[in-house]
Amino acid sequence: MWETVAQAVINGLLIGGIYALVSIGVTLIFGVVKIVNFAQGEFVMIGMYISFFLANQFGIDPLVSLLVSMPVLFLAGVLIQHFLIRRVLGPNDMPQIFLTFALSLLLLNLALMLFTANYRTVHTSYSDEALHIGGLYIPVAKLIAFVVAMALSGLLWLFLHTTDLGKAMRAAAQNRDVAMLMGINPNRVFCVALGIALALAGAAGSLLMPFYSAYPFVGQVFVLMAFVAVVLGTLGNVIGALIASLMMGVAESLGIQYVGADSGLIVVFAMLLLTLAFKPTGLGGGRAR
């Protein structure tokens, strides 16, 4: 009995780590730049295809290709902020929504055109390995993904709290106007925020590749969970998104085990609604950190 529960919790935590990478990106962009990036899932997809092609053409392990996908997507983030998002940052929300939504549709259909709708998988030596600890199974590929995801989240936290640029970013998140009065260059801060967020999405893609198939619509699967986590963990709160993501992974897993295999999402959304009913600002307590 306890084994089944423990296994369900482990499964949930492991996939929650991936949700966290996606949702931290969304929440970072929202916190700092104050826009919702609907295309975040598509950047996960791009990260996956980068890893797939590097593995397929040059035999590079997806975990190594993290070193390619993250910088490439960081650069993409900076360029998107500088050339696209900067132009629509005004008092009106609509152009921003249309911009990121259009970006999502564009990337999705571009991927369909270039890569077709076929599923692409990468097989690594550790793809099918699992650690057996006292009757519990921990898939190696997912464990690696989880550990790297947590390490990246930790690095981000350190960056936000110890470096000048990180502090500037938090300042911009807490009060943009005051931050600008203190001499913070908003475009520079926004560029870095977009870059980091997309790099995290790319990391999620590369980490997923050893155990999940790449296809053009793959981002949609993860971005839904990311949005729930962002709202649950308070919009703009990085730690909140991390904790909420892990909670959602566990809730989904326990839901499948004890409610029904098609009810995982029902449990997740029930959790979201209950939280919003009692704590409308989310678990993070309404503060962007």
Binding site: T4, Q7, A8, N11, G12, L14, I15, I18, A117, N118, Y119, R120, T121, H123, S127, D128, E129, A130, H132, Y137, P139, F211, Y212, S213, Y215, V221, F222, M225, E252, S253, L254, I256, Q257, G260, A261, D262, G264, L265
Partner: protein, 413 residues
């Protein structure tokens, strides 16, 4: 200012259209000349070709299999024509008219209609996906053109007189799957997991209904939502159910995750993935070695007869992959049409239908089917039709069930 610009813009446009006109005239003249000197004499010595319509989705979500079907349809027609065409019609060649039904039911209706009204067709084959074939067969029935298909929906045998189904029906697949589970264990305890839309629900309900009669115990019966991020919770549940066999009614991506997760958990269950996406070359390409030993069911397999192996070798040469069930099946169907055309001695669709209804073959390419015999009953169903149980062995699909069709021993994994 504005006006001037308009004028200057109009002028070159005029010039272009003038030039086009003369070019068109030139083309028409050349075409006429070519017709006068080239095309007319041809009529004198060649028998009129026989038009066969081929309806397959080559774009859209079902394109992957549809494209393979078209390759097979072309191969079949080439085989017939190279062997001298239809002898009773003076060596008339088959002329394949391919139409893309775009994985869409509405398009299927209009395309079938267009194909029939725009061409003098003797017969049609298509569309592989039951949902599309049901529509195409409705249109063909009304136009009184025979349609022969590998689609498995039992609905195709109801109230139709121009539709012929030479292969196993959907209802037979479930029974075969249950019987296969008894090859692995004397007391099969089956966990059925299925994606919770029409496809998964209807297939799994068939399994549930037949299980008691076949003496198979179903210990878990669980719908899941397709496109999940992680199969571990589901497999954790299978593990706690104590099942020794797993039937997964799933789309390709979910199935890949399920298979990988079962292996990671070190779960000792035999997996039966059913038919469709599970028995095509792409499945092995995605899952790799983990697919070894996995079982499925198919309405056709390339090892059912020597003729089938010949066809398979040719198909492999053309496309690089082995002939999957629909590809091989529709080559057999083309030869069934040839048999009917030979006996009808006419390209008239009504006469072809008559000849198909009295078809009775047990040798040659037309008889490439599990059991090796084809004869249609009044409902258009092959009275000998049954599915074949297959297993992935060394990157290839081997027939392992039933005994008379088995070409390899079942590996118990």
């Amino acid at each position: 200012m504005k006006k001037a610009r308009k004028d200057s813009a109009e002028k070159p446009a005029n010039q272009v259209s003038l030039r086009r006109q003369s070019r068109r005239e030139f083309m028409i003249k050349t075409a006429l000349a070519a017709g006068a000197f080239g095309a007319v004499p041809l009529r004198g010595w060649a028998a009129d070709p026989i038009n066969i319509g081929a309806l397959y989705p080559t774009t859209g979500s079902m394109a992957q299999i549809g494209v393979g079907c078209v390759a097979a349809a072309k191969l079949a027609v080439d085989m017939v024509n190279e062997a001298g065409g239809i002898k009773s019609l003076g060596g008339a060649k088959l002329n394949l008219i391919i139409s893309d039904v775009q994985s869409d039911t509405t398009v299927t209706r209009t395309e079938t209609d267009r194909l029939i009204t725009g061409n003098k067709l003797s017969a049609i084959h298509g569309c592989y996906a039951s949902a599309l074939t049901l529509i195409a067969s409705e249109v063909a029935e009304r136009a009184k053109v025979p349609l022969i298909t590998g689609s498995s929906s039992d609905q195709l045998n109801k109230g139709r007189t121009y539709t012929f189904t030479p292969f196993a029906r959907a209802s037979q697949f479930a029974r075969a799957q249950l019987q296969m589970s008894k090859l692995v264990s004397d007391t099969p305890k089956v966990a059925v997991i299925f994606e919770n839309t029409a496809f998964g629900t209807s297939t799994s309900n068939g399994l549930k209904e037949l299980a008691p009669g076949e003496g198979v115990e179903i210990v878990m019966f669980e719908p899941y939502s397709a496109g999940f991020t992680d199969a571990s919770p589901l497999i954790n549940k299978v593990k706690s159910s104590g099942a020794n066999a797993l039937f997964s009614v799933s789309y390709l991506n979910d199935l890949i995750l399920i298979v990988r997760t079962v292996k990671q958990f070190g779960l000792n269950v035999s997996i039966n993935g059913g038919s469709g996406g599970f028995v095509i070359p792409d499945f092995y390409k995605n899952v790799g070695k983990l697919a070894e030993g996995l079982q499925g069911v198919a309405h056709w397999n390339h090892d059912v007869s020597e003729d089938a192996q010949k066809v398979n070798a040719e198909f492999k040469k053309r496309t690089g992959d082995f002939a999957f069930e629909y590809a091989g099946g529709l080559i057999a169907q083309t030869f069934m049409l040839v048999d009917a055309l030979e006996r009808a001695g006419s390209a008239d669709p009504q006469k072809v239908r008559e000849a198909l209804s009295t078809l009775d073959v047990s040798s040659g390419y037309a008889a490439m089917a599990p059991g090796g015999k084809v004869k249609f009953g009044p409902d258009g169903k092959n009275i000998y039709g049954h599915p074949v149980g297959v297993q992935w062995q060394n990157g290839d699909l081997a027939s392992v069930f039933p005994k008379e069709d088995a070409r390899a021993a079942l590996l118990k994994i």
